[in-house]
């Protein structure tokens, strides 16, 4: 029994009508982990993915190409709130695992306690842990090798160690033999990063499954309250022209793993009416602080993200890490314009950018826009989170100076462009208005949160949507709390055990 890939079909082609045991909406960390688990259990699976299937040879090299080919809606999604902060997600087979830095962090123990005490979800700890053990082996998780660290990551470690930052370490990532090409954000053309389009998705096909690409799901098909398939219309990967319709019928169940912004919308469009749907959106908002060094750092040489500290996760509620960005993005990230901007850009080789991400407690909502099927994310950080945000900047500033930076560029509107070592105290009074910062929302949670109470959750602790049969959500949208660490491993662990339970049902 061999499966196949079904790419875009134009309006002049026959519509697609397929029947399988399970259909999985989305092919990112959650969708691919669920699909391969179902396929290994002997089920016939179809993955239905909104984006096209691009192999490493198809990956773009430039940031422009990444926005065009790999990002959801050209990366133009921003939060609606006091500040317009970008919400970064991919739209391609492999989902965000294609454009992220493949950081692997196990679900912290206290998260399971929180889920149990605050949301009535228990019994996950050991099973998620076991699934994560296996995923780490399969996806060749390893520490960033010495030859791929690059100066930015090395300096970050040096600064953190100097200041005795807790849990300062070179990252463990789903990367096999990183060559330090600095191209994580555009997709790893060297096939070193183990994004799901290179492993779990093709394995699903090898086991007799299907991958339907360029196929955004419009709605789930129900028979009474049982999910029996999905339907939608193909969209051309380049022209965005509508193609023919598709229907994928599922004899046993539907798994929705379309991302935090799209999974709630798929359920809403399908007539699922639960009070908590689209609510309790959370994120890791963060920003970068540049350090200016005497000698060239060449941050784009080496792993895009290679160092992190998770030691501030509980207090004040932050994670710190390196993030190398190419000249295309630095150009817009530095403040100013005209000749002044050009002078600033000339320093690129001497800049290292390190970031913080806030384990924010603020919540927002995801809803559908009035025009079209785009998600609208309403989200603003409260004062306590903005104070954490500011503390993160102070820590990064001190870390840069401890590592030998001569100056830092905090990137706060209304503050001096550069600060020297004796001016770090100015950050103590940095504004708490989110509009003063160029920030980004990297990790998203919620929208279909799991829990015991139908009034405050969308799924139970097995990912099953309340009040429906055969309908499971298996992505970060079920996560009801802010993890404070990279969520990919948690998403994969949860999706795996939810799929195992579907097989056993």
């Amino acid at each position: 029994m061999s499966g196949r890939h079904i790419p875009f079909r134009g309006q002049d082609e026959a519509s697609l009508d397929l029947e399988v045991d399970f259909v999985v909406v989305g092919s990112g960390a959650g969708g691919a982990a669920a699909a391969v688990t179902l396929a290994r259990g002997g089920a016939r699976v179809a993955i239905v993915e909104a984006g096209a299937w691009r192999d490493p040879e198809d990956y773009p090299s430039s940031a422009y190409g990444a926005m065009r080919d790999l990002m959801d809606d050209w990366g133009s999604q921003v939060t609606m709130g006091r500040a317009l902060w970008p919400v970064v997600q991919a739209r391609t087979v492999g989902g965000t695992t294609v454009i992220n830095s493949a950081i692997c962090v196990r679900t912290p123990d206290d998260i399971f306690d929180q889920w149990k005490n605050d949301h009535g979800v228990s019994g996950l700890r050991d099973r998620v842990g076991k699934a994560q053990d296996r995923i780490e082996r399969e996806l060749s998780v390893e520490e960033v090798p010495e030859n791929a660290r690059g100066l930015s990551n090395i300096y970050a470690k040096r600064g953190a160690d100097e200041l005795r930052f807790p849990h300062s370490h070179y990252m463990r990532r789903y990367v096999k033999g990183c060559e330090g090409a600095g191209q994580c954000l555009q997709g790893c053309r060297g096939r070193r990063k183990q994004s799901t389009n290179l492993n779990y998705v093709p394995e699903t096909i090898e086991r007799g499954g299907f991958v339907v690409s360029s196929a955004p799901v419009d709605r789930i098909v129900f028979e009474r309250n049982k999910a029996v398939g999905v339907t939608g219309r193909f969209v051309h990967p380049a022209t965005r022209a509508s193609g023919t319709r598709f229907v994928v019928r599922a004899k046993k169940g539907v798994v929705v793993a379309a991302s935090v912004t799209h999974s709630p919308l798929v359920l809403m469009r399908s007539g699922v009416k639960l009070r908590a749907l689209g609510k309790f959106f959370r994120a890791h908002p963060g920003t970068g602080v540049f350090g200016c060094y005497d000698e060239p750092v060449d941050m784009n040489v080496g792993a895009t993200q290679g160092w992190a500290s998770t030691g501030f996760r509980e207090k004040p509620g932050l994670k710190l890490e390196t993030l190398a960005i190419p000249p295309e993005l630095v150009a817009s990230r530095l403040s100013g314009g005209g000749a002044v901007l050009m002078q600033r850009l000339a320093e690129y080789r001497h800049l290292a950018m390190w970031c913080h991400a806030v384990r924010a407690e603020s919540t927002g909502t995801v809803s559908q826009s009035l025009i079209g099927d785009k998600p609208v994310v309403r989200y603003t950080l409260d004062r306590a989170d903005m104070e954490r945000f500011r503390q993160g900047m102070i820590l990064l500033a001190k870390q840069h100076f401890a590592a030998g930076a001569k100056e830092i560029v905090p990137g706060i509107a209304g503050m001096p462009f550069k600060l020297g070592p004796d001016e770090v105290h100015l950050l103590d009074d940095a504004p708490l208005d989110p509009r003063r910062y160029v920030a980004i929302l990297s990790h998203l949670f919620g929208g279909c949160v799991m829990g015991k109470d139908e009034n405050t959750s969308v799924t139970d602790g097995h990912g099953r949507v309340h009040g429906f049969e055969g309908l499971v959500v298996a992505d970060a949208s079920v996560i009801p709390t802010n993890l404070g660490v990279n969520p990919q491993h948690t998403i994969m662990g949860l999706a795996t055990i939810f799929a195992e339970e579907m097989l056993a049902a």
């Binding site: 198809d58 150009a331 509107a413």
Partner: protein
């Protein structure tokens, strides 16, 4: 409207000394491609941002002229002020233009060479069709 976007980008990323500006980076070909490939919403946003850039010298440097009619020195002054203004929506509008302009400038081989980076191979723009 491409001319409007072009004018804003050239003023935001001018040629300085021997450093190439956006106009030295195959800007026209880039804008043609960008207009063709991007979403309508993104293009409208960039055009509006460029219009804001063009019309706001009166706000930033108190000169009642469109940005294109400013002297080089005044244009530089305006570009700096409008990119750092305290009026958030104004700053964000221009930020979008800066973001797009950064793609053409920062990705160009002549700029990458200055940063000791190899030229980027072309984006294939391909995907699995079978």
């Amino acid at each position: 409207m491409t001319w409007l976007v072009r004018a804003a980008i050239v003023m935001l990323y001018p040629r300085v000394g021997d450093w190439p500006g956006a106009e030295d980076c195959d800007l026209d070909a880039f804008l043609e491609r960008f207009r063709r490939e991007t979403t309508a919403l993104m293009w409208i946003g960039v055009v509006l941002g460029s219009l804001v850039f063009q019309l706001t010298p009166i706000v930033t440097i108190f000169v009642p002229l469109p940005a294109s009619l400013l002297s080089k020195e005044m244009a530089n002054h305006h570009a700096e002020r409008v990119s750092t203004t305290n009026i958030y929506l104004l700053r964000q509008s221009v930020f979008l233009v800066k973001l797009v302009a950064g793609m053409v400038w920062g990705g160009h081989p002549s700029v990458r060479e200055r940063f000791a980076l190899r030229p980027l191979p072309p984006d294939p723009g391909t995907w699995r069709t079978s």
